[in-house]
């Protein structure tokens, strides 16, 4: 385990577990949100654009 003797030492972070894991947790959540936001933005656009396209085609056909 690199610098740590075992897994529980690694989790414990020399008594600084709360600080280390909280920071990494927040960072992970914010990175994840950035990726999720791309997906949501993409889906919103395609839903809107396809509906618009259908409406235009219907108007054209009529």
């Amino acid at each position: 385990m690199g610098y740590f003797a075992n897994f529980s030492d690694f989790i414990n972070m020399g008594g600084h577990a709360l600080y280390v894991w909280l920071s990494y947790g927040i960072t992970l959540v914010i990175f994840g949100y950035n990726l999720l936001a791309i997906w949501l933005k993409k889906r919103a656009f395609f839903t809107f654009a396809k509906r618009q396209l259908k409406r235009e085609q219907r108007n054209y056909d009529a």
């Binding site: 385990m1 690199g2 610098y3 740590f4 690694f10 972070m13 020399g14 008594g15 600084h16 600080y19 280390v20 909280l22 920071s23 990494y24 927040i26 960072t27 914010i30 990175f31 949100y33 950035n34 990726l35 936001a37 791309i38 933005k41 993409k42 656009f45 395609f46 809107f48 654009a49 396809k50 618009q52 396209l53």
Partner: protein, 250 residues
């Protein structure tokens, strides 16, 4: 103003060309980000030696420093894109600046929150009104103001213009952040990386940090290109190439 620029500069002005080239580059940056971030985190958390004074809490450096560097680079990129957008009337440049703002804001939030958490065991306080911390908080407010301005106008061109002006005014904060640790001798420590001096840390500590910085930049490039591409589609949804793209995909 009439300055002759290289050909690729004018190609960038074409939304379709930008959309395609970013689509080609994106997966590579995504892959590089994944590899660099995983390597950097494993190395930083498990294999880098503990700090002789701070013990293991210093491992927060591997996520704190890259986010703070990126928060500032992102702002400078937005300022450059804003100038290009205003001088050459280049819509794509404004779209890049707009897409960068939320990513920069999230990096500033990471820098501020991990810094606060790191401050507790190191300085004994979550927050102090240190010059570096205060100027970073101002950076966050600037980002939020810019994001609000982009969506405050029904005419997108007016929003682009207003947000670019706020970005250019706000960019004076960047040298203040950078030199805050030298001008005001308060709690925050000086820069970990400089171009002129060797790092104050041993290589076992700074090599993973460098890997993390590169990983953050690749992640930024990936997210920025993804957001820019969707924004391009939104603004160009009436043009032929987007309609063709929509009818091609089921």
């Amino acid at each position: 103003m009439n300055i002759k620029m290289p050909k690729w500069f004018y190609q960038l002005a074409s939304p379709k060309w930008s959309y395609d080239i970013m689509g080609m580059l994106m997966p590579w940056f995504g892959l590089a980000a994944l590899l660099l971030l995983v390597t950097g985190i494993v190395w930083g958390l498990m294999f880098a030696p503990p700090d002789y004074q701070q013990g293991n809490s210093y491992r927060i450096i591997y996520i704190h420093v890259p986010s703070a560097i990126l928060a500032q680079s992102c702002f400078m990129l937005m300022a450059v894109a804003g100038i290009i957008g205003m001088v050459w009337k280049m819509k794509v440049a404004h779209i890049v600046a707009k897409s960068a703002a939320p990513i920069g804001a999230s990096m500033t939030i990471i820098a501020l929150s991990t810094g606060a958490i790191w401050g507790k065991p190191t300085w004994g306080a979550w927050w102090v009104w240190d010059a570096r911390l205060t100027s970073m908080l101002i950076l966050l407010f600037l980002y939020l103001g810019i994001i609000a301005l982009y969506s405050a106008f029904s005419n997108k061109a007016s929003g682009d213009q207003a947000a670019s002006i706020l970005t250019l005014v706000g960019v004076v904060n960047i040298p203040i952040i950078k030199y805050s640790v030298e001008w005001w001798n308060t709690l925050h420590q000086p820069a970990s990386f400089t171009l002129t001096k060797k790092p104050a840390m041993p290589p076992e500590m700074w090599v993973p940090l460098l890997i993390m910085v590169l990983g953050y930049y690749c992640f930024f490039a990936y997210v920025l290109m993804a957001r820019t591409r969707i924004e391009l589609l939104e603004r160009e949804h009436k043009s032929g190439w987007v309609t063709a793209l929509l009818t091609d995909t089921p």
